[in-house]
Symmetry: C2
Subunit: 344 residues, 2 copies
Amino acid sequence: MMKKKKVKITDVTLRDGMHAVKHQFSVDDVKEIASKLDALGVSHIEVTHGDGLGGSTIQYGFSKETEEDLLRAARESIKRAKLTALLLPGIGTAEDMARAKEIGVETIRIATHCTEADISEQHMGEAKRLGLEVVGFLMMSHMVSASTLVEEAKKMESYGADVVYIVDSAGAMLPEEAGEKVSALRQALSPNVEIGFHAHHNLGLSIANSFAAIDAGADRIDCSLAGLGAGAGNTPLEVFAAAADKRGIDTGLDIYSAMDAAEDIVKPKMIRPVQIDRVSLTMGYAGVYSSFLLHAFRAAEQFGVDARDILIELGKRKVVGGQEDMIVDVALEIKKKTANVTMM
Amino acid sequence: MMKKKKVKITDVTLRDGMHAVKHQFSVDDVKEIASKLDALGVSHIEVTHGDGLGGSTIQYGFSKETEEDLLRAARESIKRAKLTALLLPGIGTAEDMARAKEIGVETIRIATHCTEADISEQHMGEAKRLGLEVVGFLMMSHMVSASTLVEEAKKMESYGADVVYIVDSAGAMLPEEAGEKVSALRQALSPNVEIGFHAHHNLGLSIANSFAAIDAGADRIDCSLAGLGAGAGNTPLEVFAAAADKRGIDTGLDIYSAMDAAEDIVKPKMIRPVQIDRVSLTMGYAGVYSSFLLHAFRAAEQFGVDARDILIELGKRKVVGGQEDMIVDVALEIKKKTANVTMM
């Protein structure tokens, strides 16, 4: 039997899950879901536009209601858990954060690409001054080695982060990788800094990856009811609660209530089933940004190649956001290669 | 990097998947799916009523077309893979098996409860005489210890089984358990006997459990397109193919074709989404037979208790099929316990 380990659960139904409902959760939805999550025992409830504070724009999609109204609705509904918000520097501002704090947000999660922790410095400093619990969120963590992640995590630690998360944004990690990376951070950071793990389910491994992260020393795990989240979704809270209990992990969750909330509250609000489909599976397999998909499908059509070949090549080259112009080059190369093979 | 291990994939879309479509796949469905599976590289294609040969009855649900027609349709569509049928002694007979062999079935999988391998002796003997490849299928393998499974597997080996499967019928295993049990069989059986693993996805762990089984020495893994199967479904073939490739496991599968077959052929034929819901999750958590569900819900209503409490207690007591009368006793005990608590 494994040692019984206690982990804190941050629920992201009302943040990452916003992507899956095109940011259309209402004040009433937030009240209903947040109060249920609070009662069933999660330690943190994240409520923000899918792309964080200030995300409600024409570029990222407008929320149904204002950020302030949604956060206030959550604040009124939560008694035990910490109200949490996400902020991506460049989208959200220090002002947004100060306003969120005024409304009653207690924990701020500041997210950057896994090699760009330095852009979180200013916001983390400001968050500390505001007295917020500060969580660093290293996105697309599958793209770099454990040692690079350690460097970036140490930057966040130096800016005052209380927690650093390894974020598998594309759902591209295997359990071994999740474990190795969490373990590297656990060894490198001060024991006062907690480690978190945020999974996506693109390869059907969100629960197994979360287990591996916990075994390696993770203190916090992100989940969402019914897995509601971008792409193939996040670690489903109710499934994780049941499986973790069998494995001797203490999540503090009421398993039946989690099942009921997923089934009776969240599933009826889904506008499409959250599942592993061809697109999300390709993302996990290739390890690429969802923002590449549209470009890749366009280039595939233009050059008569398979979009998946393009995405997989982009994954191999570790192309990052902003390098979308490389997609056409890759499509063209694949077309040439295929033509050569045909000619031989 | 892990050692690259080759595994054979048995697809069960047209057998376990039959449960998910109430056994209503037509001859044309079988032709379409079997030919696609054959082309994409699975080693075995199982085509049978969900409850095996002879399963098309009022008790288990009638198939849309006759067993012979479905098997013939598959036979015509398969060039490389071995055509496989399932048989549960007590439902299917030696005559059914002989007829299946005549039609062109090459592999027979003979399934028993994990403690009742002895009832497979006669059918295995007959299967050997017919020249079939013989696979033993130990259902509900989470219910007994590794050493008990070894005893039962050794019986099947002595009856001539070429392969013995550990079958996690309720989707109740964790990866550690799957690994431990496969490892025990691998050590105890002759190296000539292959080990297989059949997962269900009730705890969201079908892929991780299959990986653990492979690490422990499994030679064969069961999958189905889009996870089509009873309850929360089986290990989804296309997801497993992609994740296994990333992990350095050689499945011989064409990943893109598997994705396309799942998305374009199987998902449109689903009569309900195959997913982890409250019922299938409770089954995996409690580790009980699906046949208990209806009885448990009835007893729950009658006594005003939660059906999940009944199922979990049944799981703890390791109640097996045929002991359904215990369900009312358990419901009554839970009611009494709850009443005592309330009175204190």
